[in-house]
């Protein structure tokens, strides 16, 4: 049994190609490694082709009912349409992590916790282009502490394909960038 008991119902949303499904997979693997209940559900509609992509991840100590997250308590938004679509669904008190280098607007709601991270710019400046998704995972880790660092590192190693092993360190660097952002 894990020492982390808060149930997280996470929506990750943005453009196709921003790595939202991968970031969701990393989060799901932390639950697998810690022997928690986990579900990961991608959107797989035609909207994925160049349009918005999103995925739902649940981490819990109880069996997960619907893997479809209708009432997220965490939203990671990497473009404006995603923020506009999912902000109204978030429960009061939810954490909204917004990539402020991609989303020019501010969150309108006052009953949620908002954290703006210029993740895409931070990643590019650090030579980690394309890893803004993992920067945001690092920020979520710093704010919610949903697992240990060792678990998170192991999850990255599980998710990076064997053929791209050189990407492991870059992903870990991106996580650290998010933690200190």
């Amino acid at each position: 049994m894990s020492e982390f008991h808060e149930e997280l119902r996470i929506v990750l949303a943005g453009f196709g190609g921003q790595g939202l499904l991968f970031a969701g997979k990393v989060l799901a693997y932390t639950g697998l490694i810690d022997d928690r209940e986990v579900s990961w559900l991608p959107s797989y509609g035609p909207e994925m082709r160049g349009g918005t992509a999103n995925c739902n991840v649940s981490l819990s100590d109880e069996a997960i009912g619907s893997p479809l997250v209708l009432d997220p308590n965490v939203l990671i938004a990497m473009n404006q349409p995603s923020l506009e679509k999912f902000e109204p669904m978030c429960v009061p008190g939810a954490l909204l992590l917004v990539d402020s280098s991609m989303v020019p607007v501010k969150v309108g709601r006052t009953d949620v916790e908002v954290c703006y991270v210029p993740a895409t710019k931070l990643a590019e400046d650090a030579g980690l282009k394309g890893l803004a998704n993992i920067v945001l995972v690092g920020k979520l880790f710093a704010m919610k502490g949903f697992c240990s660092w060792d678990t998170l590192e192991a999850a990255i190693k599980k998710c990076v394909p064997a053929k791209k092993v050189e990407m492991v360190q870059k992903n870990l660097d991106a996580l650290m960038l998010g933690v200190s952002a």
Binding site: W40, G45, I64, G65
Partner: protein, 353 residues
């Protein structure tokens, strides 16, 4: 015991089928089933099997017929419109008493419908999986673990009763990832003395055939097959019961919608309503016995389905008019929300319909 891994439902179906001894896969791509075929194409050759993308669903199911007649463990998979194309071949397999596994990762219908999750092929799977008098055994998993477990069992059950077996999944179960422990690879498979597998004149030759031009012969065969179906009804009914013993309001839901129904049952219990859930795991044979049992104490039944109300017919047959049976459903890829189901439970508990 294998390690727990994170897998998509479609991939778990494929891996577990190979571990059950499936060595032939014939299919044609369709969303939301595609990862199953893709996984087979990458991995079937590693266990010495054959993955073949046919030119159509119709040829794929007839390849299944041929491989099964030769005694192989064989499967195909598709999604709703593709299953309709396979229905003629499934009828032929039933008519020739050939085992095989067919996976339907359902999407919205009718017609080309949508590519989002649905349960609108319940009637097709349980009533009319093709022309003629026959049934297929239908499993409805509701987790990725059950996808692995029931397809593993499906091959044995198909061989035991010499019948096609269907795994009725949906786009949500196919696409989602959950932790799963995969079963160990099977090391021995049943003998098939009826197989048409070449014998160098060492025995009478076997025939796989569904054509009987003499009325009395076909009549007798159909009666014999239905005796087998009675055995299946007695032995193979499966259901999972959750908080049913003292329940006033009994929900009945299968597959993905059972997950939503269970959340609604928990929410109802939290506000003092005695709700419970019967989750049929086999849709044919339908687990009538436990529903009859629950009708002795339940005030009302509520079916939750991702269709316009199909399984609700079977529940009404089991309850036989003794208690009211209501229905809540969504279609086209819309997933019912637990709160909507909770509202129905509340209304039923107050005596509404």
């Amino acid at each position: 015991m294998s390690e727990k891994v994170l897998m998509k439902g479609n991939e778990a179906l494929a891996e577990s089928a190979m571990r059950a001894g499936c060595r032939f896969f014939f299919g044609y791509p369709i969303t939301p089933q595609t990862e199953l075929a893709a996984y087979m194409s990458k991995n079937m050759h590693k266990v010495g099997g054959v993955y073949l993308q046919a030119e159509s669903e119709i040829s794929a199911i007839n390849m299944v017929y041929g491989a099964s007649a030769a005694g192989a463990r064989v499967m195909t998979s598709s999604s709703s419109p593709g299953i309709s194309l396979k229905s003629e071949g499934i009828s032929y397999m039933a008519g020739a008493d050939l085992p095989g596994v067919i996976v339907n990762v359902q999407r919205g219908g009718p017609g080309l419908g949508s590519i989002q999750p649905s349960q609108s092929d319940y009637w097709q799977a349980t009533r009319a999986m093709g022309h003629g008098d026959f049934h297929v055994i239908v499993y409805a998993p509701s987790t990725v673990q059950e996808m692995a477990d029931y397809i593993y069992e499906a091959f044995d059950v198909a061989d035991k009763y010499r019948t096609p077996v269907m795994i009725l999944a949906d786009g949500m179960l196919g696409q989602m990832m959950e932790p799963v422990v995969l079963p160990e690879p099977k090391t021995s498979l049943p003998e098939k003395p009826w197989a048409c597998d070449g014998h160098k004149n060492a025995r009478e030759h076997n025939i796989a055939n569904s054509l009987y031009l003499t009325a009395e012969d076909l009549n007798r065969l159909n009666f014999e097959r239905f005796e087998r179906y009675e055995t299946i009804k007695q032995n193979e009914q499966r259901a999972d019961l959750y908080l049913v013993d003292d329940a006033d309001i009994v929900l009945v839901a299968f597959g993905a919608s059972a997950r939503i129904a269970k959340s609604a049952v928990n929410a109802a219990r939290a506000i003092g309503i005695k709700a419970g859930l019967i989750r049929p795991i086999t849709l044919w044979p339908f687990p009538c016995d436990c529903i009859k049992q629950a009708s002795l104490h339940a005030k009302a039944f509520l079916c939750v389905e991702m269709n316009m109300g199909q399984m609700v017919d079977d529940v009404r047959l089991c309850v036989a008019g003794s208690k009211p049976v209501s229905f809540f459903g969504r279609t086209g890829g819309v997933i019912p929300a637990p709160l909507e189901v909770l509202d129905c439970i509340k209304s039923l508990n107050e005596g509404g319909r």
